[in-house]
Amino acid sequence: MADPRNIDIKDQPGFRSIAIICLCVLYVPVLILMIFSLNSGSLVTQWEGLTLGWYGSALLNEEFHSAAKNTMIISVTATIISTTTATLAAIGMTRVKPWRGLSTAFMIINLPLMVPEIITAVATLSFFALIAGMFGLNFGIGNLILAHTVFCIPFAYMPIRARLEDMDLTLEYAAADLYATPWNAFKRVTLPLLVPGIMSGAALAFIVSFDDFTITQLVAGPGQTTLPLYIWNQIRRPMTPEINAISTILLLVSILFVSVSFLIARRRAN
């Protein structure tokens, strides 16, 4: 058999056409969306000329401001809480003597990834309705933060755990051997080496929370409109390229965020 390293993927029959189709399906719609954000006409399907006007009106739009603010409050808070929780969980599940129920705990943490989101959404909604009815408790935007934190945890957990499992345990032995107490060994060796994992965990959690729609739509109360909900509300009215501009802004924020965390993670890893 030929050495697989000598096989050039580009020579394989059909590779080019399949690759081109995949790239088109994935990115052409996004590209069209971005192009029409620059359309001077007021239709999202008919090109009339070039303008940045829709970005101007989007940035001056009060509703957009308030949605962006809500989104940032929810996403940032949920990211911080879920990443911290996930970090502690990952450490508690890799850096201790194996305990009874370890694999069950692992399953429970990752279960939200398997449960259809609409089920989680309905369940969360009923849960908040229940505690509101029984105890008269309503945490306002806290409800959304709580809901987001819960579904962000598995996303934050996975890269952190992977990093911990890849890490050479001997480094921690070496720290202990060199008189580091368990806390010092964690602070000076484990944690700094874990930072790239924590960064990618946090980036994932942020992105997942930032564009969540299903759960947010069901749980959000009045005045708790997030950006995805705002866009959803806009497209139910006659659409203008302003929505394209807003979507493009969202996309750029996501790309920027992911790139920055990726670059930081790579620099720390080297």
């Binding site: 720290a175 051997d177 700094p192 720390r268």
Partner: protein, 364 residues
Amino acid sequence: MPDKPGRNAIEVVDVSKIFGSGEGQVAALDTVSVSIRENEFFTLLGPSGCGKTTLLRLIAGFDFPTAGEILLYGQDIAPLPPFKRPVNTVFQSYALFPHMTVADNIGFGLEMLGKPKAQIKVRVAEMLKLVKMEALAGRRTSQISGGQQQRVALARALAPQPKVLLLDEPLSALDYKLRKEMQIELKRLQHETGITFIFVTHDQEEALTMSDRIAVMSSGKILQVGSPWDIYDKPAERFVADFIGETNFLTAAIAGVSDGKAQATLKSGATINATVAEGFQPKDKATIVVRPEHAKLTAAKGDLSGTVENIVYFGTDTHIQVRLDSGEAFTVRQQNTRSAGCGFEQGEKVGIAIGNDAAQVLRD
């Protein structure tokens, strides 16, 4: 070789380590006792799985014995966590902290001990000089070669001036030439620092050339402790004789044991002198060992006779494999001269002379 008895740095007393439970129990160490003297270069030698690394980990504190005591200058350290033991380790993989510079790695132990910054700086500079790494103090550990990483690992472990330095096969990742250099370097460091070294290796040559004393281990037990010379020339058991160097095993009838010497009658009928380990009373039949370089091939009839089967040239010497008339195999090692051949040919009938002090009776 004179023994220089000093204080014991480490005393391992009846230590057992059992992994697993129930049916799957494995004794990695089985009631092991050994004393390691102050300032000694002590080697734990054995094949993989013999328990040598387990014993080292118990001394370091990465694991705790199932039974027994480990005394460091008389104090039982077995229950202490690693960060409370004045003992440092050089790891097989070096385990340098990748996010710190060479200097920060070396200073880590002192920093954790809470030493003042100025003092750490002085000590780190000293250590860098000791291992000749001054020029690379500011480098990341990923930016230096394997041999340099090895030096940093040594400096890092020596910096806090441990009472005992543990070395877990530290040379196994280096290529042959670098390994030879580091063997000399390690001896020098041990001499200069005066710290007790406990060195783990599976490489018998490394053990023989570097150690003051060697403990040969197999299946969780220590079989023999002694100087390299003792271990090589007076192996007590078949495993020790077989594991260290090449050797010939012969069965012999034993008679007249006195003064540590026995009369051993070989299958060929010849009777030779063989040394017996102190305090050991051999039965009528025993295995004796003769090192290939302690026997001499002769054209005339010797203590043994046989036919040359194979001649292997090794540069410095030649190994001549002889099939004895009794059916056993026997190898003779003969020093080469520059111009002459070994003087024997394949198929030739030869005799083998065994010197007066060449044979040792085994305990098995």
